[in-house]
């Protein structure tokens, strides 16, 4: 694993270049360009606010749009990056087959470019929080300055998953559809649209606790909605998940590495 990390470090220039290429290419040709990175989360927030204040008011969690927005951003980062990583290697067969290319850079690039989008959504979240705070709806806690650390931990966790998924889906193409459906299920098994504290069954709460995405989502809700620091147990869990996922991701990737160029 250390060797793999060193290898990635050696290729950092390649990774940063590819990431910026990814970001550039994404909006190339669209009229609004980079503005979409900001506009997308803004519109998402607008839709939630509209739906949950006008159509399905949720007086139990208020303001519900902020609660939802705080939790859904880390989830979108996770699900977006993992989904895209299923095609990160298989979609770049030219690079793997025709160029000497460090394949592990590809899922990492996917994760980084999603991380950039996540980061670009943060100003929108902060603004939404600011409005809610100014109107006295939510409290503020200075632990908010540690949000970048939280994002970094999640990025490590996502990177591990992406490494494993990207390489395994080359050999096992069905993984793509499998992952897509698992992510659907995962969305509802993660307390994004509901608060875990309001789940009546102790058993269900335990099940939700076993979901590694749960502490990340809860931590964001703690900071931006409840105005409190995340529970220590959640912080420890996040660190463990991040390291565990990364280790597992590298093990899987290392084992499959040699077969990639052939199987693709």
């Amino acid at each position: 694993m250390l060797a793999s990390i060193l290898k990635l470090a050696r290729h950092r220039q390649l990774i940063t270049t590819l990431t910026s290429r990814d970001l550039k290419a994404r909006y190339r040709g669209s009229v609004l360009g980079y503005f979409w990175s900001l506009a997308n989360p803004l519109m998402l927030l607008g839709v939630y606010t509209l739906v949950f204040t006008r159509f399905f008011p949720r007086p139990d969690i208020s303001p519900y749009a902020l609660f939802l927005f705080a939790g859904i951003l880390p989830w979108i980062f996770f699900s977006g990056a993992v989904m895209e990583s299923t095609a990160a290697i298989s979609g770049n067969s030219g690079l793997i087959k025709k160029v000497m290319f460090p394949a592990e850079a590809l899922p990492i690039v996917v994760v980084l470019s999603h991380l950039v989008h996540f980061a670009l959504a943060m100003p929108v979240l902060l603004a939404a929080f600011g409005v809610a705070f100014a109107t006295g709806k939510v409290p503020f806690h200075p632990v908010m300055i540690f949000v970048p650390v939280l994002m970094l931990l999640e990025a490590l966790f996502v990177a591990g998953v992406a490494l494993a998924v990207s390489s395994a889906s080359v050999l096992f193409r069905d993984l793509r559809d499998l992952v897509q459906n698992l992510l659907q299920l995962g969305f509802f098994l993660t307390p994004v649209i509901y608060s875990i504290e309001r789940i009546p069954s102790q058993l269900m709460r335990t099940v939700l606790r076993l979901n590694p995405m749960t502490p990340f989502v809860i931590a964001f809700q703690d900071i931006f909605f409840f105005g409190r620091p995340p529970a220590l147990v959640d912080v420890v869990l996040m660190a463990l998940y991040a390291l565990g996922s990364l280790a597992l991701g590298f093990v899987v990737f290392d084992r499959l590495r040699d077969t990639l160029a052939e199987a693709i």
């Binding site: 290429r21 290419a25 030219g94 290319f101 096992f172």
Partner: protein
């Protein structure tokens, strides 16, 4: 020679056949057992037991039919694929031209793609900065530099890809059939660039179907047939062996007068070692043998056989030819080489517009030159009779070695007919009376001796 640039030992490669049902199985076994070797029923053997070295600075050609394993070999050397068995060690910075512009992103500009591609090939941003202008100039994409690559023609795409790849300044350059793309002018430019890299000491591995290019550029070649080495060594001979096989002929052992076409039809021929440089004094001979050059001699204008000659004397190359079977497709060729291997001159009947009608039984071919105009030194004569596409009936390399003698110690190879004259206040005096003679005394003597024991033809 120090450590070879590339060393291949017992290299075999099997490809798994990836069936739909076995996918999960493959994933499982790769994950759990770390087992990369596939079971024999579900795999194809692409390479079997290759062993060879490529020396530093050598240009090495790889030829063979489609699907023979050439590209697999290149991909293993470049590190893209892993060998199933055997060892491959590569010493030096490698750049592989397997597909030009493989890493280009269509949506972004040529300028940005140059950087990305360069970084992929192992350059740093600074190194690309330094090479940037040269790359752009070489590619000739001009004002399209800041357009997205998707707007490029396929020719521009390839040119840009090649330009980036060669400016990486690799120690080892792997080229897979990429020179056939692009227009004639650009492909000449590529070949010139490759020659320049070779001159600077880069090692080249060259997979191609353009056999003439292999002959021109390569020091050695290997012919791969169904994954195994069929022949390795001197490019001209390896190519000929390959052409013979393609034409459906069995291989004829080189060396002696070929005994044609009763070869053993063994399935996997053991690789024949085609010596790159045998004893330089020994004639090498190969071909399928339907037409044979039974005798080659140098004659003067009176038909006398020459062993040594002066630069100015008239010379005729005479070949005695026997056709064992009548042929309608045949070309006679001659080539003179300097002792250091430089080709002084080469031509054939095809090049000069002689259309073959038929050859039957015995005959004589004379190639007459009023003067050789060569500087003193050792030379070698190659003669050949082959088909229009280059398959040799009989190829005799170094059929004759001859010495050109001279009393004048001028340098080079070619001595253009010339005269000095001095006008005005310049005065010189010719000292040596023999200095203006082309034939030095010892050769005069040899000629006289030959004259005495004249056995006319």
């Amino acid at each position: 020679m120090s450590t070879p640039a590339i060393s291949v030992r017992g290299l075999s490669k099997s490809y798994r056949l990836f069936g739909r049902r076995s996918q999960l199985q493959t994933l499982k076994s790769a994950l759990l057992k770390r087992e990369l070797r596939p079971d024999p029923e579900s795999s194809v053997q692409a390479l079997r037991g290759l062993t060879f070295d490529v020396a530093r600075g050598e240009a090495f050609g790889v030829i063979g039919r489609n699907g023979s394993g050439k590209s697999t070999l290149l991909k293993i050397i470049s590190g893209i694929l892993k060998p199933t068995e055997g060892l491959v060690s590569v010493n030096g910075r490698v750049s592989a031209l397997i597909e030009l512009g493989a890493g280009f992103h269509p949506e972004i500009s040529g300028r940005e793609n140059i950087y990305i591609n360069g970084i992929m090939l192992g350059l740093s941003r600074k190194e690309i900065d330094r090479r940037f202008d040269r790359i752009v100039e070489f590619s000739g994409i001009g004002e399209f530099l800041d357009q997205p690559v998707k707007t490029y023609s396929s020719g521009m795409y390839v040119r840009l890809g090649f330009a980036v790849a060669v400016h990486v300044d690799p120690e080892i350059l792997l080229i897979d059939e990429v020179l056939s793309v692009g227009d004639e002018e650009f492909s000449q430019k590529c070949i010139a660039k490759i020659q320049e890299m070779k001159a600077r000491g880069a090692t080249l591995i060259f997979v191609t179907h353009q056999l003439a290019l292999v002959k021109e550029l390569c020091d050695r070649a290997v012919w791969i047939e169904r994954g195994a080495m069929a022949a390795i060594g001197d490019p001209a001979r390896v190519i000929d062996a390959y052409l013979q096989e393609v034409a459906g002929h069995h291989l004829v052992a080189a060396g002696d007068v070929p005994i044609a076409m009763s070869g053993s039809g063994s399935d996997a021929p053991a690789p024949r070692e085609e010596p790159a440089e045998k004893d330089p004094l020994e004639e090498e001979r190969w071909g399928s043998g339907e037409v044979l050059i039974t005798d080659v001699s140098l004659r003067d204008d009176r038909g006398r056989q020459l062993v040594a000659l002066g630069g100015r004397s008239p010379v005729t190359i005479r070949m005695q030819v026997t056709a064992r079977e009548p042929q309608t497709d045949f070309v006679f060729g001659v080539a003179i080489y300097h002792g250091d291997g430089t080709c002084v001159y080469g031509t054939n009947t095809e090049i000069e517009g002689w259309r073959p009608a038929k050859i039957e039984g015995d005959g004589t071919v004379d190639f007459a030159m009023p003067a050789l105009d060569l500087v003193a030194g050792g030379y070698r004569l190659d003669v050949a009779v082959h088909t229009k596409n280059g398959r040799a009936f009989d190829y005799r390399r170094g059929a004759i070695r001859f010495v050109v003698g001279s009393g004048i110690h001028d340098v080079g190879i070619y001595r253009p007919p010339h005269d000095w004259s001095f006008l005005g206040g310049i005065e010189l005096e010719l000292t040596q009376s023999s200095g203006r003679r082309d034939v030095p005394p010892e050769i005069e003597k040899t000629l006289r001796e030959l004259d005495d024991s004249d056995e006319s033809d």
